[in-house]
């Protein structure tokens, strides 16, 4: 490989690196728009979750076929990257197949394994394309899956297929060139899958073959770098975000709602008790009760939105969604990400950011959606990477109830029942123990006394 190629390669690498760096910093800032929550307690539990759920794909295996095919792509992606290492070294030092002479005949084995994985990736992607676009699977046809999310999913699958074919083309032409005395290509041994493509190229001249081989090489490496930049704009970002997502995910029982210490303080003052932290002189910034926009959410919730793959397993399990209500947990996550992106873009351009007159609630997520949630945790259970759409829904409800007092009228009535009658229904508090009298009448005994 000539010096010019080396320089071009380094340039491409530098540009891609810079673009990635800028994009990653942007996403980091968008996530940090959220409130500062601490989620790094119990590191051993968290590491274990990350290992099982993200690395081990434990929750994917609730459905075997898609889980297996997803695993093929995942393993293929990770392992084939070892070959990309050779690509990068070749690009920098102007070598070709730097490991082939050192590894000798052993080199054939890993390359054959990579080729096998490339074929499983291609087959899995083809199957996923069919599933997405041909089979009538409800979660791939929901109303929030508009033009872009659908296209995004298809682009990823098609690009992965093309990239894999580039590897196979490169290896096929490489094998022919090894036998050409005028080419001087190092021996790789027999490569089975790319070997199947040899007849396609056999008749070509050495010059053309070298061109095709080099083209496939450049195509693959530029493709991978481009893909890396692309996924930062895509739902496909889950391949990286799944790891921090599963690490920082909630580990408390699903039924537990997060406490609001600011409210605890107010309630203690209202009840005349001294706040536990006696030092009250330090004015603490309370901010909003609940969430109206992305900056009111916990940073973890925004991270979840960037980790979301829009697979829709949450929505497929949601009882409100399944009975035709507007709520879709997937849409909650997509809206959160879209709003964070919008605010981030605006800030990048020196615009108004959060102060643009829009907010997550109402401009993205409708009240009808959040009101329909039964907090049953089906979405939380269903998510393959432990994202929690429910946390966002409940935060939005808190804003509506406490900052605006705009909860549905029936809920306001329930609130006043709890306040006045100490029960969500309008019954007299003194009747609370009537059942014991009834029981005494039924059994003819004096059971009430023994219970009180």
């Amino acid at each position: 490989m000539g010096l010019i190629q080396q320089i071009v390669f380094l340039l491409v690498l530098a540009i891609a690196g810079y673009m990635l760096y800028r994009r990653i910093s942007r996403i980091r800032q968008n996530i940090l728009l959220g409130k500062e929550g601490k989620h790094n307690d119990q590191p051993s539990v968290r590491s274990k979750n990350m290992l099982l759920v993200a690395f081990g794909q434990k929750k994917m295996f609730k459905k075997f076929i898609p889980a297996f095919l997803h695993l093929c792509i995942y393993v293929g992606f990770i392992v084939i990257n070892l070959e990309v290492l050779e690509f990068v070294l070749a690009g920098i030092f102007g070598t070709h197949r730097i490991f082939a002479p050192t590894l000798g005949s052993f080199y054939t084995i890993p390359i054959n394994i990579f080729e096998f994985l490339a074929v499983t990736v291609i087959l899995s992607c083809v199957f996923f394309l069919l599933r997405r676009n041909v089979l009538p699977i409800k979660r791939f046809n929901a109303r929030e899956l508009t033009a872009w999310p659908k296209l995004d999913a298809n682009i990823i699958l098609v690009v992965e297929i093309i990239l894999m074919f580039a590897i196979l083309t490169m290896n096929a032409t490489d094998q022919i060139l090894q036998d050409r005395p005028d080419a001087n290509y190092p021996d790789t041994g027999y490569l089975f899958f790319s070997g199947l493509f040899i007849p396609l190229f056999e008749g070509m001249s050495t010059r053309s073959l070298i061109f095709v081989e080099r083209f496939a090489w450049w195509f693959h490496i530029i493709g991978i770098l481009g893909f890396a930049i692309y996924i930062t704009y895509s739902k496909h970002l889950h391949i990286f975000m799944a790891f921090p997502q599963t690490y920082y995910a909630r580990i408390a029982p699903k039924g537990k709602m997060d406490n609001m210490p600011a409210v605890t303080k107010e309630v203690q003052i209202m009840l005349g008790a001294q706040p536990e932290n006696g030092d009250d002189t330090e004015a603490e910034e309370v901010g909003r009760f609940g969430a109206k926009d992305v900056n009111d959410l916990d940073w973890r919730d925004i991270m979840g939105a960037y980790a979301c793959t829009e697979c829709g397993r949450c929505t497929a399990e949601c009882p409100a969604n399944q009975t035709g209500k507007k709520l879709s947990p997937r849409k909650i996550m997509m809206d959160t990400r879209d709003r964070s992106e919008e605010v981030g873009k605006s800030l990048q351009k020196g615009g108004k950011g959060l102060e643009d007159g829009k907010s997550l609630l109402d401009d993205y997520i409708q009240r009808e959606e959040i009101n329909a949630c039964t907090s049953c945790n089906a979405c939380v259970e269903a998510c393959p990477i432990n994202i929690n759409p429910l946390a966002i829904i409940l935060q939005l409800r808190r804003y509506v109830a406490m900052e605006e007092a705009q909860s549905p009228p029936a809920w306001n009535a329930m609130f006043s029942n709890v306040e006045n009658n100490f029960a969500p229904w309008k019954f007299a508090p003194t009747d609370r123990f009537n059942w014991a009298d009834e029981l005494a009448d039924e059994t003819g005994g004096t059971q009430k006394e023994s219970q009180e």
Binding site: K254, N259, Q322, C376, R398, A410
Partner: protein
């Protein structure tokens, strides 16, 4: 509880009845059934009676954190005042709130749902179920409560109780972690559902009926109401009964 305390006694367990168990005519029968079992077994227990108030669960889930914390603060004051250590309740919503949410506010108790409590009594041999009772060989399907199941990982206790009756336990397609909500959680009990194709409880009732079970077993007052309404809407209330697991045991034992 006040009386027991006045006599210087501390009960084995406090039975947290809950609002539904106190006021709802249907669910009062569950309260009574559970109390009958406790008496039969000889568990020394107490209730707060008029001193008990809503845990605040529906207020919190509807977003009213202030109201929730007011309720929590006053309940915790009463419970701590009586030095309560162990609480049993038939309501998964009360269970979840007292168990998971009160500790942060100063209320630390051992909290047990009645399904787990009944299972323990059976395992300890304190309840000896007579085989060949009213439910012997009868088809029963159990509807998972979200607040017991997914929220707190209690899936097996209610099932083991039902199996101890030698009943024919049939599962719905959506059960355990994939269980389908009755539609009442998250304060939905207290307002009309948003517009959609169907009510959640209708969907769930259809699924329960399709198992062919004569009894739909529940372990939650909200599930009880939603499933009973669903069965009634399908005009099946003569053939299919919705019953709490405590009622099923009491009936089997002819209490």
């Amino acid at each position: 509880m006040a009386d027991m305390s006045a006599q210087g006694q501390e009960p084995e367990v406090l039975f947290w009845v809950g609002c539904a168990g106190s006021y709802d005519d249907r669910y009062k029968r569950v309260t009574k059934a559970f109390v009958k079992i406790l008496h039969k077994v000889g568990v020394q227990f107490a209730v707060l009676g008029p001193e008990e108030t809503c845990t605040g669960d529906p207020a919190r889930r509807a977003g009213n954190e202030f109201l929730f914390q007011m309720q929590a603060a006053s309940n915790i004051e009463v419970l701590n005042g009586y030095n309560v250590k162990k609480i049993v309740t038939a309501c998964p919503h009360c269970f979840n709130t007292i168990k998971n949410e009160y500790p942060e506010l100063g209320g630390n108790y051992e909290v047990i749902h009645h399904s787990t409590f009944l299972q323990q009594l059976i395992n300890e041999g304190r309840i000896k179920l007579q085989g060949g009772g009213a439910f012997n060989g009868k088809k029963i399907t159990y509807h998972d409560s979200c607040f017991l199941g997914r929220a707190n990982n209690i899936y097996e206790a209610p099932r083991e109780v039902l199996e101890a009756l030698d009943a024919d336990l049939v599962e719905m397609k959506r059960c355990r972690t994939k269980g389908f909500c009755c539609g009442a959680g998250g304060a939905q009990m207290f307002k009309d559902a948003e517009a959609g194709k169907k009510e959640v409880n209708t969907e769930r009732t259809e699924e329960a009926l399709s198992t062919g079970a004569q009894t739909i077993a529940v372990a939650c007052p909200f599930c009880m109401t939603m499933m009973s309404d669903g069965v009634k809407n399908k005009n099946k209330e003569k053939e299919v009964a919705v019953k709490d697991i405590a009622e099923i045991i009491a009936e089997n034992e002819k209490l």
